[in-house]
Every structure is written in C-alpha cells, then in structure tokens.
C-alpha cells in the first residue's frame, strides 16, 4: 500500500484509531454482559436447551441466506453467537455452588422403545466449559471476519453447528444423546478443517476424522455394553451410581479410553493433533484447542471416573505415566519446531498431559487443577491460535524463520502475544500458574517421581515459549517481514482478545471465582471414587465370611 519508498511502515492508519475505539468498546461490551446477566437472570426459559438449539437454528438461518450477502451472514453469525453467550449467563449467575447435583436439568422421553431420554443438565465440572464454548465461538466469528472469503455461508453455519453440538456434549446426561452430539460435531469440524484450512488441509481433515471416529466407535460398543449392564438405561446419573463388576470396568475403561485419549490427545494417539491444529483455519484451531480436546478430558471426568471408579483407580498409574510421557515428549518436540502453529499444537500435547496427570492423580488438588488447567489451556492456547491467525492473515506464512523483530512493527500485537506466552509458561499472576501449581501439588501427592518429571516439563515449556517469542518478536528485524502490509491490530482483533486477557488475569489473581464452581462437584466425584473401592472390599469380606 505504497510503502515502496519507506522500508518500514510502523504507522498505524490514523483514521481508524483502533486503540481508542477498543478502549471505548470494552466498557460497552462489559455493560452488555452485565445487563445481559441481569436480564437473563430472572427470565424463565430452559437455559441449556436454548443455548444448544439457538446456534443450530442460527446455522439454519445462515444457510437459508443469500450467498452473495456476506455482510448479512457475518452479522447474523455474530449476533447469534453473542445472544447465545448472553443466554448462557444464567449458568454463571444462578448456579448453586454448594451442591454436587446436576442443575438446570431438563428431562423428557425421546425414544421410548430404547428408553432413551432427552436428559440434560450441568454440574460444577461441566458448567464452565459450556460458558467457555459460548465465549470462544464469538471470538471465532470475529477472528474470521476478514480471513474467510470463500463459501462464507457454509463457514459460519458450520461454526454455529459446532457451537450447538459442543454445548450439547457438555450438557448431555443421557449416553445416547451424548454420543449423538459427540459424533455430530465431527461433520462440521471436518468441513471446517478441510475446506478453509491450510495447504495440507485435506490430509489433516481426514486424519482427524478417522482417528476420532475409530476411537468413538469403540466407545459406542462400550456405551452399549454399559446400557445392558444398567438395566437398559442410558441414564448417566444412574450409571454413576451403579457398581459394575471390576472386570467389566477394566474392559469398559479401555473402550472409553479409546475415544477420550484420541480426543485429549494422550501420548500414543496424538499424531492427528499437530496436523489438524496446524492446517485448520484460526477459528478451527481455536475450537480444536479450546473446546474439542477438552471433551476428551471431560469424558474421563464424566465417564471413566464416576462410572468405572475401581478401574480408574487401578489404571491411574498407567494414565499418569502416559501423561508424563506426553508432557515431556510434547515439550521436547516443541523445541524442534519451525512452524508457529505446529509448535503451539505440540505444546497442547504437553499441556494436556498436565491436565490428565492432574485428573488421574485422583486427589482434590489434582482434579481441581486439572479442570482449571483445561479451562486455562482453552483460553491461552485459544488466544495463541487467534494471534497466529491474525498475523497469518497479513503475512501468509507460519514459519518462525520468516518472522523476527516483529515487536518493532506490531507493538500492540507483541504485547498481547507476550501476555499469553507468559500465561502458557505459567508465570505467577497468570492463570497458567494456578493450574500447573495445583496439578503439580496433586501429582506430587500421588507420586513423587512423576511429579518431578512433570515439573521438568514446565521448564522445557518456558524454554520453547520464550525461544519462540524471542525469534518472532525480538532479534533483528526480518526484511522479508516488512514486505507485507503489516498493520497492527485493529479494533475487531483487539476486541477478540481482550476477553481472554481479562480471563488470564482473573483466574491468575482470583481463581476462587472459578474453583468455587467445581468444589462441590469435585468433592462428590472424589467421594464416589474413594467409596467405590471400599464398598467392594466390604463386599469381598462379606463374601469370604459367608
């Protein structure tokens, strides 16, 4: 844009005042959320069903629009996702934190002959992910605003379909319903990666689909076996209170492991993730990193632990070892990456290793830390992918070597990147610290060796993230970088990231807001795990006495 004569065009366009407009927009957005929360608090409507089906309805509306009217499509998608978020706010304001029971429950018969119900509800474990899904979708819409130009209609429809099914996954309390959402999500996600992704998108999309599908169908077998062992019922609450024989638990654990470990992804089955994350468009990466891979960890929390408590206890050491391998392996691989997105993708493997380590430590700190770290990872890695997407839109390269000295050209951008880099490392004051700290405490309690090994992962984590930051933003300015039209962040892009910045510090400074949501539920889960084994021992003693 006419910087032929000037080698460096640091000036931001004066006419736009993106900073000023952002500063003006933030309070407006905050007010919107505040009043939204106030209004929705007292409105009597079925919260969960509404936020599951409103985006799906939105997707249908988008699909019915005229293809040429891109502006209308984009605005509809944005408004639908915003309204969904506002409608989800009662989950925050009206949530009863003192109980481990399911809340906002809706229940009605769906398929009578198979005793399948439409049964949804949230507890302290799932509620935060519902809110995070609703929030991240808005950001996915805004970050794609200018970068998606091909088949816009299908793109935003897919995005909204994904939102609906994501929320459905976290809310389902009927196994069949859960499976429907879990699998249905694959279709729009497959399209999102395959149609709007990077150069190698087709391969990545099909790899993603087949990996997850193989895992899921094995889980389906497990689900059906569980169904027949629960008196032909898919009711998850009932399953959580049924004590299955130990051998059956072990087999089912592996069946569910197949699905969840692929999603997380845990060490041996993680290979789809770098491809999928790297090739997906920014919005796709955010959903993958932010929500989709959390569904795997959520699956462990929701199914394996309460339904198969003895098997979970018996296999916890195995899981923890796999987690530690993922932590270190993922981190070491990051050190050798040349591609920005690939590096962040592999760091996800490492970070999700922390999550599963915390979960399978099977103690209060570990579980809480694991759940919080799921949230943190969604926020931080989501933000990092958003940031990479933003710069990719300008430079069309993801190679770290093509950057260098970007801090001089993109000051606002590099500041935001810094915040999330530090959060990813786990600097005290950011959310990453709280999560990793709790996980390590839990990990040490469970096993000293694994705790120490996991802690090395934190160090390597700092090494690759800082190395990345240094090579992209500091060092000598890369002349190739200046050939692009490098505008610093616009208002839309800043507004996309500011909610996440707020969350980084909110969780980092006052995590209790979020931890208090899960206290009761996590305690309930722990009680379940601890009591199940004892009941069995008692049963065995009784058996012997007979």
């Amino acid at each position: 844009m006419g910087h032929d004569s000037h080698p460096v065009n640091i000036e931001t366009p004066k006419s736009n005042y993106p900073m000023l407009r952002t500063v003006a927009m933030v309070p407006m957005f905050a007010l919107l959320v505040f009043f939204g929360a106030e209004i929705t608090k007292d409105l009597p409507y079925p919260v969960l069903s509404t936020i599951i089906f409103f985006p799906i309805l939105g997707a249908i509306i988008v699909l019915l629009m005229r293809r040429s009217n891109e502006k209308q499509i984009k605005w509809t998608a944005l408004i639908v996702s915003l309204i969904t978020f506002l409608l989800a706010l009662p989950l925050y304001t009206n949530f009863n934190k003192s109980t481990a029971a399911m809340q906002f429950v809706e229940r009605s018969t769906w398929i009578r002959s198979w005793s399948i119900e439409y049964f949804i509800g949230v507890d302290g474990i799932s509620v935060l992910f519902v809110l995070l899904s609703a929030l991240l979708t808005i950001l996915c819409v805004t970050v794609s605003w200018t970068s998606i130009t091909d088949r816009t209609k299908e793109f935003y429809a897919s995005l909204l379909l994904i939102e609906g099914s994501m929320i459905g996954v976290f809310c389902s309390l009927d196994m069949f319903l859960f499976y429907i959402f879990w699998e249905a999500m694959l279709i729009p996600m497959y399209l999102l990666i395959g149609v709007w992704g990077g150069p190698n998108r087709v391969y990545a999309a099909i790899k993603f689909f087949l990996f997850t599908l193989v895992g899921s169908v094995l889980m389906l077998v497990g689900v059906i076996v569980l169904y027949f062992n629960t008196d032909r019922s898919f009711d998850m609450l009932r399953m959580m209170n049924t004590n299955y024989p130990f051998d059956l638990q072990m087999i089912l654990f592996w069946a569910f492991f197949a699905a969840f470990a692929v999603k997380v992804p845990m060490f041996p089955v993680h290979t789809w993730l770098p491809d999928a994350h790297t090739e997906a468009p920014a919005a796709g990466s955010v959903i993958l990193a932010g929500i989709l891979i959390k569904m795997g960890a959520y699956g462990f929390l929701r199914f394996n632990m309460p339904m198969l408590p003895e098997a979970s206890k018996a296999l916890a050491p195995t899981m923890m070892v796999l987690s530690v391998i993922a932590i270190i392996y993922g981190a070491v691989i990051c050190l050798g990456q040349t591609d920005l997105k690939r590096l962040i993708a592999y760091s996800s493997v490492s970070h999700m290793g922390f999550v599963t380590l915390g979960l399978f430590a099977l103690n209060m700190q570990g579980l809480q830390g694991g759940i919080l770290q799921m949230l943190n990872h969604g926020i931080v890695t989501g933000a990092l992918f958003l940031l990479v997407g933003i710069v990719y839109e300008r430079t069309h390269t993801r190679l770290i070597a093509d950057y260098g000295g970007a801090a001089t050209v993109l000051p606002v951008y590099s500041t935001l990147f810094m915040i999330f880099t530090l959060a990813a490392i786990g600097l005290p004051g950011t959310n990453g610290f709280i999560g990793e700290f709790l996980i390590l405490v839990g990990g040490f309690t469970a096993s000293k060796t694994l705790g120490i090994l996991a802690a090395t992962g934190v160090i390597i984590g700092a090494a690759y993230m800082l190395w990345l930051y240094q090579n992209v933003f500091f060092v000598k300015t890369n002349p190739a970088l200046l050939e692009h039209d490098l505008k610093d962040m616009g208002m839309r892009e800043m507004m996309t990231l500011i909610p996440l910045v707020i969350l980084v510090f909110w969780i980092g400074i006052y995590p209790n807001t979020f931890l208090s949501f899960m206290d009761a539920s996590v305690q309930g889960l722990l009680d379940r795990i601890n009591s199940a084994g004892q009941a069995n021992v008692t049963a065995q003693i009784v058996e012997v006495l007979k």
């Binding site: 293809r67 398929i111 009578r112 002959s113 198979w114 088949r151 299908e154 499976y179 429907i180 699998e183 249905a184 694959l186 279709i187 497959y190 399209l191 395959g194 149609v195 998108r201 087709v202 999309a205 099909i206 689909f209 087949l210 599908l213 193989v214 899921s216 169908v217 094995l218 389906l220 077998v221 059906i224 076996v225 169904y227 027949f228």
Partner: protein
C-alpha cells in the same frame, strides 16, 4: 368335490400389484409418453402401502402369510419402488430407454419380492425369487444400445440362474429328506432328527443361493460389474429392494425351518459376514467409479445386516428391518444424486461440486455421512440398533470388528465429500433436474434427519 374359494384378503396387495403391472403392459401400447405409466406405478404403490396393514392373515392353507414381519418388508419394497420410479422418469428419457415395460417390470419384480416376504413354503419362495429376478435381468439390459448394459444383464442372468439352481437343489434335498416344502413342516421334522450331512448340505446350498442375492462374499463378484453396467436407476433399485427381500426370506427360513440348526448356520454366516464387511470396505476404498464404489459399499452393508441375522433374536430381526428401511432411503438418495449429475460416474467428476452446485453437494453430503453411519443421520440409528441387538445377544466381538470396519468405511464416503468440498472444480458438471428426482431426493434427505432424530417413526 366342492373346493371353497380361499380367503384372498392377505394376498390383495400382491393381486393389485400384479394386475396393475399387467395393465401397464397393455397401456404401454397406447401411450406415446411413458411418464403416466410411471405415475400410475407410484400412486398404486402408495395405495398398496396403505392397504398392507389391513390385509394381515394367512392364505392358501398357510402357504402365504401376511404378518408384521412381511408387512414391514413389503413397505420397504414399495418405498424403494416409488423412489426408483421417481428417479427413473427423466433418466430413462435421457438414456433413450423410455420403454413402458420398464415400469411394468419394476412392478412385477416388486410383486415377486412381496411374495418372497410372505412365503411360508419353499415352492412359493422360489416362485417369488424367480418373478423378482427374471424381471430384474431384463431391467438390467434395458439400455439395449449400450453393450455394458447388455453385459450386465447377461452376467446377472447367468449368475442368478446359477444361484436359483443351487436353491432348487437345496430345496429338493430338504423335500427328499423331510417330505414337505412347508417351512413349519420342515421345522417340526428337524426338531426330531439330529443334523445329518444331507440336511446340512441342503442348508448350505440355501445359504449360498441367498448369498448370491445379497451379494455376500465370496458370492459377490457379479455385483460391481452389474451395478456399473446396469442403468443407474435399476442399480439403485437392485441395491435395495431385492436385498431386503432376500434378507426377509433368510430371516424366515432360518428362524423357522432351520431353527434347530442355529449353531451351524450362525457359524457359517459369521464367517460370511466378516468377509463381506472386510472385502466390501477394502475394495470400496480403491474404486474410481462411483457406481462401483456404491456397489462395494452395499456389499459392506450386507455384512452389517448379516450380523443381525447371526444375533438371531427378535430384537435383532427388528434391527434388520429398520436397517434395511434406512438403507433403502440413503442408498436411493445417493444413487439419485448420481443420476442427477450428467456423466457423474467418475469420483473425480464430483470435484468442486459444492461450488458449482452447493445444494446438490449438501444433499450428497447428507447421504454419504448417513451411509458412513455418523449421527444425527439415519444411518447411525440403523447401525446402532444392529450393534445393540448383537451385543445383547452376546456377539460383542463381532460388533467390535464391525465398528472398526464401519470406521474404515467412513474413508471412502469422506472421499466423495472431500472431492465435492475440498478439491478445485475440474470442469462444470451439468445436472438434469426433474420434479420426480427432486421429490425422491427431498424425501430421502428429510428421512435421513427424521429417522436420525426421531427413530420412533421406523421402530414398529
């Protein structure tokens, strides 16, 4: 001697179908435009569907029975017939194969299937099969000027005749040993005798004969060639209704006549089922012609349906019916799209379809995901029901094999979607839309979601 006139109420649907088919043959001479004949077929089939539940009972001394089982299957045949006629109307004109006999033969073939579903006597089974097959042989060759079509007809005829001979041989052996062709008579005889070698042989011959009809491995060789060569509308029909008919007979024979032989035929079918899934899935991956791919896909689906037969419970029989119903809709939908696209036989012809024809591509996407068994489409419900029934019957390991193949099979369905959505357009493919075709596609697509979300509509 005064022979009372039998109560023909249960046979009324078949009588109507056969009469209308014969009348269509006559009307064909009068009408220059053959479309009204097709519409007549649609209307009559719809009326017969309505009549079916009203005509339950036995006729001809128990040779013919119209029960829930057969009524459901007859509905499948008739739905398949209606959709086939709807997708044929314009296609035949384009292919210059616009003969009035086409519709008549379709109706005759369906009548044969309806007799098969209701037959409780081996003689009647054979009659039904021959009526169905002979009509289909001719239908395959309806594109007279196309050597591939004639080749398909010839191949289908030879192998079909071969399998009929095997079936007859099996039937005659059973008759020789048990002195009856009545399925219940055979059942009560077999209950009192230990399984002897000739009896086993007769059972194996019958299994082989029907394996040809459902194109189960290793008797599937004809399917890809015939499916490829036959007119696409006939392929669509052949891949759904006759298969369902063969499964209906298999279900009835093995659950009544050979019930006491269950351990033996389960073992044989187990091997056939696994082979069928494996060969169907793996061969479909390497196909470049979509009709051949769908042929192998339908072979793989036959493998899944066999699981229901193996499980052998009432629940499994219901699962089989439901699966075939769903399969009929999704397969006919997929073939409908193949017909909609001019020269859309190569998989690469689908490149970039989502850009040139977004709506067609979206419909195909639905059918492909349904065939792959991904929720919330109907295909998932079908698979789920079969797997559930099989696990309940204790065949968990078979189901694990099946789900793995089903996951692998997603690959070749995804390949079509990949071509449509993720590859650049190679050349613009024209479409040949027509009202009938559109109606068939809409019905199928809506059923995909309707059954997928409210399965109760097909669970009865």
């Amino acid at each position: 001697m005064n022979i009372p006139f039998p109560d023909v109420t249960p046979v009324i649907p078949e009588i109507i179908m056969a009469t209308v088919a014969s009348l269509l043959l006559l009307a064909e001479l009068v009408f220059a435009n053959k479309k009204p004949l097709g519409y007549t077929g649609v209307v009559v089939s719809a009326i017969v569907i309505y009549l079916l539940p009203l005509c339950k009972g036995e006729a001809f001394g128990g040779m013919f029975i119209s029960d829930d089982f057969s009524v459901y299957f007859k509905m499948i045949f008739l739905i398949s017939l209606i959709l086939t006629i709807l997708i044929s109307l314009k296609y035949l004109q384009i292919e210059h194969a616009d003969f009035g006999e086409y519709y008549s033969l379709l109706l005759f073939s369906t009548t044969g299937m309806m007799i098969m579903a209701s037959a409780r006597d081996f003689i009647l089974v054979f009659l039904g099969i021959e009526l169905m097959s002979l009509s289909l042989y001719i239908l395959c060759g309806v594109k007279k000027h196309d050597p591939r079509s004639s080749e398909a007809a010839m191949k289908y005829f030879l192998l079909g005749a071969f399998s009929s001979a095997l079936l007859l041989y099996g039937i005659s052996m059973v008759y020789g040993l048990t002195t009856t062709t009545d399925i219940y008579g055979i059942a009560s005889y077999l209950r009192q005798t230990p399984p002897t070698l000739p009896l086993m042989l007769s059972m194996i011959l019958i299994i082989v004969a029907f394996s040809f009809k459902i194109s189960a491995v290793p008797f599937h060789m004809w399917a890809p060639d015939v499916y490829e060569g036959a007119p696409t509308s006939v392929t669509a029909f052949m891949s759904t209704a006759p298969k369902a008919a063969a499964f209906a007979v298999l279900g009835r024979i093995f659950f009544t006549a050979y019930q006491t032989f269950e351990p033996y035929w389960t073992t044989i079918l187990l091997v056939i089922s696994v082979l069928t899934m494996a060969v169907g899935t793996i061969m479909a991956i390497v196909q470049t012609n979509i009709k051949r791919m769908l042929a192998f896909s339908s072979i793989a689906h036959a493998g899944y349906i066999l699981i229901a037969l193996i499980a052998g419970t009432n629940e499994a029989m219901n699962a089989m019916k439901v699966y075939l119903m769903i399969y009929t809709f999704m397969n006919l939908g997929a073939f409908g799209i193949v017909i909609l696209l001019e020269k859309g036989e190569n998989i690469s012809d689908y490149n970039g379809l989502s850009k040139s024809h977004p709506f067609t591509a979206a419909l195909m996407l639905v059918f492909m995901f349904s065939l792959a068994g991904i929720p919330p489409t109907a295909g998932f419900i079908g698979k789920f029901y079969i797997f559930m029934a099989a696990i309940n019957a204790g065949y968990t390991w078979l189901v694990i094999i099946a789900v793995v193949f089903s996951a692998v099979s997603a690959y070749f369905y995804l390949r079509i979607i990949m071509n449509m959505y993720m590859k650049p357009m190679s050349e613009t493919v024209g479409t040949t839309p027509s009202l009938g075709l559109a109606a068939a596609l809409f019905i199928s697509a809506i059923m995909m979601f309707a059954i997928g979300l409210v399965p109760s509509i097909v669970l009865f």
